[in-house]
Amino acid sequence: MADLHFLANPARFRRFSQRVLPALWLVTALALVIGLYWSLVIAPPDYQQGDTVRIMFLHVPSASLAMAGYLLLAALGASLLVWRHPLAALMARATAPVGATYAAVCLITGSLWGRPMWGTYWVWDARLTSFLLLFFLYLGHIALSRAYDDSERGDRAAAILAVVGAINVPIIKFSVDWWNTLHQPASIMRLDGPSIDPSLLWPLLWMMGALALLFVALVLMRTETEIDRRRLEIAENQD
């Protein structure tokens, strides 16, 4: 916690991230190259799904990271409301579009995967629908944080929304599950069981790590930009 408070000073954070970012980008690029080669070339095709299973290496990590990103957004919102960390607001601004992009990647790859597997781009499956709603929550956060002339008001309003949204995400998930079982009891759209072959699991975990690094690098870079932009705004207002 002490470290978090230490980095809550935007100028200090900026010095820290400028030192960390080049190395982080290098590691991220390496991890992505290795991960993509591993999952797209080396990993064996699935015995049922053939090469389409490779979509999973992008689809599953982006889904997990989009959800984790919303939790991060809520945590940043809470720390803005509780401690008034100036950095939390800027980082939330930086995080939301990245999270929304990951959610969009998950939805798009999912629908491309659904076409050969289920014969349709979209089904009103519980998981798909609740993910679509998560995407809308992201959009609402982005729109709200940018809807004010006074950007600090947008930050605080969006922080409240993120906290309320995070409380609601499990409820939405539960109700959509219920809704789906009501309408179509037998859902066939699942990866079969928890058993996934190690030859597929390891590249999947690697890609998860690589995309998480990319998420962090993008958020840090965008936070730097937000700090600079806020400085410009203040400089402009002083004239």
Partner: protein, 220 residues
Amino acid sequence: MGFGALFLRDLRLVWRRPGDVAVVLAFFVVATVLFPLGIGPESNLLARIAAGVLWAAALFASMLSLDRLFAADYEDGALDLLLLAPWPLELAALAKCAAHWVVTGLPLAVLAPLIGGAFGLDDRSLLVLVLTLLVGTPALSLIGGLAAALTLGARRSGALLALLALPLCVPTLIFGASAIEATATGEGFWVHLAILGALALMSLATLPWAIAAALRQAGE
């Protein structure tokens, strides 16, 4: 005292301009009437979709009147007085939402069975429709109240309000519509109604604080 005074004040304001409520109810009727025109007059199909249509239309209708919930007080400075008042802002938020429910949720619940009957719902389903609307619409008023408080003074606040509130309203919509559906298929509707009640109570227990927080940052 503060709660009652604010609640009655809001009701009195609406009473003096009844057109505002009438517009919302008219929207509800017109929006639902468009469905048979778009889909066709086949009564089986209409009875099948009635629950979803009526609930979705009720959701839109209650969003429609929300953007003025706090905006008038924000513009004329009454909100600043509420912020300074010696009673909790949470109660004030609750009073505003309660008044909003009385002038939209309640009339919608009274009006809905008339339209539901025209869609061919049977008597039992109509009764459940009224029950679900009575239990569920308070949650809509509270969620919408939060969205209204968050978008105070924002650009394009009307459209933004809907974008914020509608995803959060999904659970209420699902259980409201599914209770009616369950009645039609012969299942019991009590489970759905109980969950709907739980959602409403949870909104009641948490959202006034969120709304008050949003109003405080709007007043700063």
